[in-house]
């Protein structure tokens, strides 16, 4: 596997300087930014396109476009929140090409109302994740996310895993703030339901309510 992306919380004070140097053709500076965020962008592209080949194209196109437009990065936001918008646009264009007969939005296959229903009620241990090995836990968490509709997994990943604010998530996905909030709630509740199967306190039975 290639280098692991650093967490978004890592110091990003150097980004404007890296961008300034990259603009003058300094490949090493651009590589630092690329290594920092390629994992997150690839995951985002996979979440939206649901296809490895398309996700790889989106990853490349996003970084190439970012390089072309580096002069537009002002350093007012993190580099990630800037490039994430480019990547989302590229991913949506991919979807549109795949289904050329109609317009595509991330929001098209939802809102039955059923998915805010809480189905499983059972208390968890204080730190339920400690019952599992790192690999097992990773499998459980990614498996649960993979089951979500693309819009839910994208909103949840940007907001709760990558740490973007509600406003940044709304801007990146071209959604209103209330739309981000309602999709985030659904995503959180659906994931909670799925994880209850693994994390509920031993001996407790889950039951439905609401």
């Amino acid at each position: 596997m290639a280098t692991e992306s650093v967490p978004l919380e890592a110091p990003v004070d150097d980004e404007l300087e890296l961008v300034t140097r990259a603009r003058t053709g300094d490949t090493a500076s651009f590589s630092v930014l690329l290594r920092r965020y390629e994992g997150k962008i690839f995951r985002l592209a996979m979440n939206i396109t649901q296809n490895r080949e398309d996700a790889e194209d989106v990853l490349q196109e996003a970084f190439l476009k970012a390089y072309e437009h580096l002069d537009q990065f002002q350093g007012n936001s993190r580099f990630y929140t800037w490039i994430v918008r480019i990547a989302v646009n590229q991913a949506l264009m991919k979807l549109r090409k795949r289904r050329s007969d109609r317009a595509v939005s991330l929001d098209e296959q939802i809102d039955t109302g059923e998915d805010t229903v809480v189905r499983e009620i059972a208390a968890w241990d204080p730190d339920p994740e400690e019952r599992f090995s790192r690999e097992e836990l990773h499998e459980i968490l990614t498996g649960a996310i993979d089951d979500l509709a693309p819009i839910y997994k994208t909103v949840f990943t940007l907001r709760d895993v990558d740490g973007l604010s509600t406003e940044e998530t709304a801007e990146a996905l071209d959604l209103s703030i209330p739309a981000v909030k309602s999709r985030l709630l659904r995503a959180r509740l659906q994931l909670r339901d799925k994880l209850t199967r693994f994390f509920k306190r031993k001996g407790d039975d889950a039951f439905a309510y609401m």
């Binding site: 596997m1 967490p7 053709g25 996310i145 985030l184 909670r192 994390f199 609401m210």
Partner: protein, 89 residues
């Protein structure tokens, strides 16, 4: 007293600590009286926490190599353009 549905509608802001004080007090009162909502709130909080700790995904080696090659090609081409422009100046 809030209904469970009303509580659920406020759950996000409550967990993100974005609720106004008077609403927060109502939500806390509901939590103290409704064991089901307490469980939903507690387990949703833990869901967010467990995902926050999830490591960033890694890009497969072959994907990373192709990405680097494409970027280096782009930067080299941009460099040539700049040199050509400078020569004409």
């Amino acid at each position: 007293m809030l209904t469970c549905k009303e509580f659920l509608a406020e759950l996000n802001d409550f967990l993100d600590e974005k609720t106004k004080l008077e609403i927060r007090a109502k939500l806390e009162r509901h939590l103290a009286e409704c064991p089901n909502c307490w469980v939903v709130c507690d387990t949703t909080r833990k869901t967010i926490k467990v995902y926050k700790g999830m490591s960033a995904c890694t890009v497969p080696d072959d994907v990373h190599s192709r990405l680097m090659a494409a970027v280096e090609k782009k930067i080299a081409a941009a460099g040539k353009d700049t040199t050509a422009t400078n020569k004409h100046e």
